[in-house]
């Protein structure tokens, strides 16, 4: 396993574009901390975001994992190109001839994907911890370490998304087209949603129950948007509409299961394509 990882990391790290993108990703992640310094004036009152409870434990786990997952596209580019490049350079063929089995080849990519996701999760954990300890109104251990399932969800989400990228890289064989395909797939899920709503189901909730099984939709369902959960937002909504509609923000085990199943499907399909295709 160490051997496979070292092979893969050499391929990525010695590629300038991949190296720059990976570093950029982590630098941008740490910029989430800069939200703390946002100040703005509203109706003559000075707001400082950090003081509005945005970095309160355990809400911070939800907020930070949500914001951090937006940045995953940087790593997606690295992962798609790490796969597609093997085809364009013809190095996949050479690797196999040199004695790497197809199974080992997929494994080395999968391990790398997991490593990236794990690295990102740990990074977000440490950063949130520091921000929380600086700005949170609550600092009891019981509160700090509650709601950690958001980190698990974040990790599962990244692994699944990167597996999807890997699969597209193998399927399409060209980085740019694979990324294009990803975008097309995103719209495709939207279209499915629209068609189901229009032709099959009468209520949006019913459609959502079905589309929750689509790959990208299931990934984005893992961590719901945290903005409407924010205390300040709630306070405003309370004033405007005189009540807050209850919403479920938690991470459910079945949502994780759907995403894990997709991850397994993507990996197995990648392996199958690799096995079947003549180079």
């Amino acid at each position: 396993m160490k051997r496979l990882l070292s092979i893969e990391l050499q391929k990525i790290w010695q590629n300038k574009a991949s190296r720059v993108l990976t570093l950029t990703y982590f630098v941008l992640l740490s910029f989430i901390a800069l939200i703390a310094s946002i100040n703005f004036s509203f109706l003559g009152i000075n707001f400082r975001i950090a003081d509005q409870g945005i970095f309160n434990f355990p809400y911070i786990w939800h907020f930070n994992t949500y914001v951090a997952s937006i940045l995953k596209f940087f790593l997606a580019v690295v992962i798609v190109s790490m796969m597609a490049n093997e085809y364009t350079y013809g190095t996949l063929k050479q690797n196999l001839i040199d004695g790497l089995s197809k199974n080992e080849f997929i494994k080395s990519k999968l391990i790398t994907v997991i490593l990236f996701a794990l690295g990102s999760t740990i990074f977000v954990f440490i950063m949130s911890m520091i921000l929380g300890l600086c700005f949170s109104s609550y600092d009891e251990a019981g509160i700090i370490f509650s709601d950690l399932e958001y980190l698990l969800a974040y990790f599962v989400k990244l692994v699944a998304f990167f597996s999807f990228c890997l699969f597209l890289g193998i399927l399409v064989k060209r980085s740019a087209f694979a990324l294009g395909f990803l975008l097309v797939w995103f719209f495709f899920e939207g279209i499915i949603f629209g068609l189901l709503r229009w032709l099959v189901f009468s209520s949006t909730e019913q459609v959502q129950k079905v589309t929750a099984f689509l790959p990208l939709e299931s990934m984005s369902n893992l961590i719901k948007e945290p903005i409407t959960r924010f205390q300040a937002y709630k306070a405003i909504e309370n004033q405007v509409s005189g009540g807050v509609a209850p919403k479920d923000y938690s991470v459910h085990w079945y949502e994780i299961l759907i995403v894990v199943v997709w991850t397994v499907i993507f990996m197995l399909m990648s392996y199958k394509i690799l096995k079947k295709r003549d180079l």
């Binding site: 490049n85 013809g90 190095t91 050479q94 196999l96 001839i97 040199d98 079947k276 003549d278 180079l279």
Partner: protein
């Protein structure tokens, strides 16, 4: 002799196209094999199958007596296929390090192999800055990294200039002289004739000839004869039990023997009949003529 690779009744179809039809081959340690065939005759496909990059349709092959899985066996094989495939953003040395990691060997051989192919002074240059000849030489260095039991070369001189071809050929000869088993696929006949001891001729995926290079030549050895009286000579030759066919060409007779007849035997036979030759040559077709005959006949 130890068998390195055994191919039995191999078939490969690409849709309706039958790229390889019933190819069988056994490669023994220490020999230099050539696979000859025009473009599109199934050479690369056959090699691709045994190298784990093309899936066979039917048939079987086994490396080193079949005791290990293909990808494990390939760690003991050095192979380059058609064009050199490396990571363009890595230097020559980094690329070889990656190959070492895949093969599970240490880095100690890198310098030595770069020296053999004459790239030691360019080891820190990125692969994309290399000329085709240098890329091909790097591929050979990479194939030699693990001191392979067998070296497989598919069209190693394709697209090179005469100097490049010469360099590659010299390297191959040096390697062959060290006793490494080599399998060389090429459509360049003199290349095969110069370095190979055994040859396999393919056309449209089928084997036309398989055996030693000498065996292929002696099959169609022939005599050129000349005497003062050609008609008498012709009559005498016709009586010889082993002469199959006689042709007249530019004042000479060309006699094709059935089995192996040597020149002195034939000379003696004619002297006994009072025919004295002014010209007697036993000639062999060059590999090129042989090859063209073989591939055109069917």
């Amino acid at each position: 002799m130890e068998t390195i690779l055994k191919i039995e009744n191999l078939y490969k179809n690409f849709g309706l196209v039958k790229a390889v039809k019933n190819v069988s081959l056994e490669i023994k340690k220490g020999n230099v094999y050539g696979i000859l065939g025009p473009n599109g005759s199934g050479k690369s496909t056959t090699l691709g199958i045994v190298l784990n990059v093309v899936n066979k349709t039917s048939g079987s092959y086994s490396w080193f007596g079949g005791q290990m899985e293909t990808h494990e066996a390939l760690k003991k094989v050095g192979a380059i296929i058609e064009r050199p495939n490396f990571y363009p953003y890595m230097t020559a040395e980094q690329n070889l390090q990656l190959v070492c990691k895949i093969k599970g060997t240490n880095y100690s051989k890198i310098q030595e192999k770069l020296e053999i192919v004459g790239l030691l002074d360019r080891k820190d240059s990125k692969f994309r800055t290399f000329s085709l000849g240098m890329k091909q030489r790097l591929a050979i260095a990479s194939a030699l990294l693990n001191d392979p039991e067998i070296l497989i070369l598919d069209e190693p001189t394709n697209g090179l200039d005469p100097q490049g071809i010469r360099q590659i050929r010299d390297i191959i000869k040096t390697i062959a002289s060290h006793g490494t088993t080599i399998l060389l696929a090429s459509h360049l006949l003199d290349e095969v004739e110069k370095v190979c001891s055994h040859v396999l001729v393919l056309r449209k995926g089928e084997i036309l000839y398989s055996g030693t290079v000498d065996g292929m030549n002696s099959q169609d050895g022939f005599f050129e004869l000349q005497a003062e009286n050609l008609q008498e000579l012709k009559n005498a030759l016709a009586q010889h039990p082993s002469i199959d066919k006689i042709e007249e060409e530019e004042g000479r007779l060309i006699a094709y023997p059935k089995g192996s007849v040597n020149a002195s035997e034939l000379n003696k036979f004619l002297i006994e009949r009072n025919i004295f030759l002014s010209h007697l040559v036993k000639r062999k077709h060059s590999l090129e003529e042989q090859f063209l005959q073989l591939t055109n006949n069917k």
